[in-house]
């Protein structure tokens, strides 16, 4: 199988990169790392939605979609060129020489990232088809879509294992296979890898945006050195793609609340990422709901009340395409969900009022949290906790940090209630899935932590004057 199959992944990435650039170039405060990293989840998400419409109108095998993508790329390039605001210095500001610590941490992040990629490749060599859920749910769906041709809608029947799961990843893989003309097993791990490593770039990129240069590199190191990140990423499940989209949504919402002048631009991308999260996994639809409730509540009641309508319009604009795709899929194609459907509603309700399940669920979830990260993550995480506890901080948690914290808490509460109402044996369900659900929130949690602690920059600057760090 030729390495040229990787070229089929280029158009979605370019669409995401150019779309993000078009929206964010006017902020005049964007870095290349963030743009490139956002380009992956946003681009693959947009491409997947468009490919779903294409398949819905014709079929996945209908030729011509690549020309449609090229036309979109050309249109985006033209629109960016018309703005005439391209400035490389803005994009590469995070590479500017600051102090030795900045370079040491940046170099460490490169080493950790390189080792992470090598470990990911090793895992992929061991399991080229991914693990259980990959070939039982995600890659088998990609095969069905790529092979079924005009009868592709016939594969969404109750006999299919988890046939109601959304299609961002299966359509992305099927699209590449059809364009390449071969079901190359290079594609699924490449897609998994792009999403896995994009989260590190988004995490560091957002912290650079709020001038936490050293903490940005540190956060990327902590994320990429967590064995679970590489392990779950290489499994080729849709969990790490969902992680990247949840982080993209949270990060852009965080920046929207941090950057009042460019709020609507960040909100469009943030809402789009939240919508695409719902197109990645069913848990992403819970996230979309939590995101919309909290973001709208914050924008209507607490923040920039003068521009509420414009802000809500931006959210609506971002979420509209993924929302249409999700609704169309769920109403017209997807069979009923195995956890929540009309046949099981009485079981769900009985479980909800069985209060002894609440304690069992909490204990089961806590056991998974205690083992979080994998074998070697204990060391950096302990150091992180020590550093947090030791810091003589003057914390000023303002709206952006509070919003991010609320989203994380409500999403966890949502997961808790899914376990409460599950018709499956609860502890088994928790043991089989909660580690992956924690991964959905992990980089967003790191973003929250590294954005509220005292930035090292202020304290290591030669002219330390004791001023407060910028509040978030």
């Amino acid at each position: 199988m030729s390495y040229l199959v990787y070229l089929t992944l280029l158009p979605p990435f370019l669409i995401g990169l150019l779309f993000s650039t078009l929206l964010l170039i006017q902020t005049r405060n964007i870095n290349l790392l963030l743009l490139v990293s956002l380009g992956i989840p946003i681009g693959f998400g947009i491409s997947s939605c468009l490919y779903f419409f294409w398949s819905y109108m014709f079929n996945p095998g209908q030729t011509g979609f690549i020309y449609f993508e090229f036309a979109l790329i050309a249109a985006l390039l033209f629109l960016i060129w018309r703005k005439k605001q391209f400035n490389l210095i803005i994009f590469t500001d995070f590479l500017k020489d600051r102090n030795k610590l900045h370079w040491i941490l940046g170099f460490t992040a490169l080493i950790v990232g390189g080792l992470g990629i090598a470990s990911f490749v090793n895992y992929t060599h061991i399991n080229p088809h991914g693990r259980y859920d990959a070939w039982a749910i995600w890659n088998v769906r990609a095969r069905m879509l790529a092979r079924a041709g005009v009868d592709w809608k016939s594969v969404f029947i109750p006999e299919v294992f988890h046939g109601d799961y959304p299609l961002l990843i299966p359509l992305t893989i099927a699209r590449s296979w059809i364009m390449a003309g071969t079901e190359s097993m290079r594609i699924p791990p490449a897609v998994a890898g792009l999403f896995t490593f994009s989260s590190a770039g988004i995490l560091a990129g957002v912290l650079f945006m709020i001038k936490r240069w050293n903490l940005g590199w540190l956060a990327a190191c902590v994320y990429l050195s967590t064995p679970w990140v590489l392990f779950f990423g290489s499994k080729q499940f849709s969990d790490l793609p969902l992680t990247a989209l949840i982080l993209a949504a949270n990060a852009c919402l965080f920046l929207a609340l941090h950057d009042p002048e460019n709020k609507t631009k960040w909100l469009v991308i943030s809402a789009m990422a939240a919508g695409l999260a719902g197109w990645t996994k069913n848990e992403g639809q819970l996230f979309l709901l939590v995101y919309l409730i909290i973001a709208i509540a914050i924008l209507v009641f607490f923040h920039d009340k003068k521009n509420t309508i414009a802000n809500l319009k931006a959210i609506g604009l971002g979420v509209i395409i993924p929302a249409i795709v999700i609704v169309l899929f769920k109403i017209d194609l997807a069979p009923p969900n195995d956890l929540l459907n009309s046949d099981r509603i009485s079981t769900n309700l009985n479980n909800l009022i069985s209060f002894d399940r609440y304690g069992d669920a909490l204990r089961g979830m806590f056991r998974v949290i205690r083992a979080f990260g994998g074998g070697y993550a204990g060391f950096p995480l302990i150091l992180l906790i020590i550093s947090l506890l030791s810091l003589p901080v003057i914390m000023k948690i303002k709206i952006p940090g509070l919003t991010l914290g609320l989203i994380l808490v409500f999403q966890l509460v949502g997961y808790f209630f899914i376990y409460i109402i599950t018709p499956l044996p609860m502890l088994l369900h928790i043991n089989q899935s909660f580690d992956r659900l924690l991964m959905h929130l992990y980089p967003s949690f790191l973003l929250l932590v590294f954005s509220i602690i005292w930035p090292i920059e202020v304290n290591t600057a030669a002219s330390f004057d004791g001023t407060s760090p910028p509040a978030v």
């Binding site: 090598a118 259980y132 092979r147 050195s225 150091l383 550093s387 000023k396």
Partner: protein, 155 residues
């Protein structure tokens, strides 16, 4: 919104932060290196194709004579009464078979025109005849000593 103040000597604070940052960076480097070493060892110990690839290769010839799409039946040891089987193995093989024969969809039972049979060869020469008699289906093709295609009983 929320304010907390704790006082330390400023110089001590500065040094502490840098030391902690460097310790954290070193810790992450150590963690990344250990993960790389473990995965490299595991990858190097691989002999031959892993389970899914080997399974998928074995089923290639089955795909060739199945219908292009649609639903077919699926029988395995877990459907034979009073027969010992590993529940987990049976489930994994069902899903692996589904992975291999996609976009054809497997439905457990015999209520379809074709039924794919995937049975453990336990040396019992009467096993396949018993299955045919018990389920009222007819053997069309034998792929191997474990894999068979039957004429089913469409509803």
């Amino acid at each position: 919104m929320f304010k907390m103040k704790v006082w330390f000597p400023r110089k001590f604070f500065q040094i502490l932060l840098v030391v902690l940052a460097l310790c954290l960076a070193a810790g992450t480097g150590y963690s990344a290196l250990k993960t790389f070493q473990t995965t490299s060892r595991d990858a190097a110990s691989m002999v031959g194709p892993e389970m899914v690839t080997a399974w998928d290769n074995r089923q290639e010839r089955v795909r060739l004579i199945l219908p292009a799409d649609g639903v077919i039946g699926y029988l395995a040891d877990w459907d034979i009464p009073n027969y010992e089987y590993g529940a987990r193995d049976q489930e994994v093989e069902f899903l692996l078979m589904q992975y291999s024969v996609a976009p054809v969809i497997l439905d457990r039972g015999v209520d379809h025109e074709y039924v794919l049979g995937n049975f453990n060869d336990n040396g019992d020469p009467g096993k396949i005849q018993f299955i045919q008699d018990y389920f009222g289906i007819r053997l069309i093709k034998t792929y191997s000593n474990e894999l068979f295609l039957f004429q089913g009983k469409p509803e």
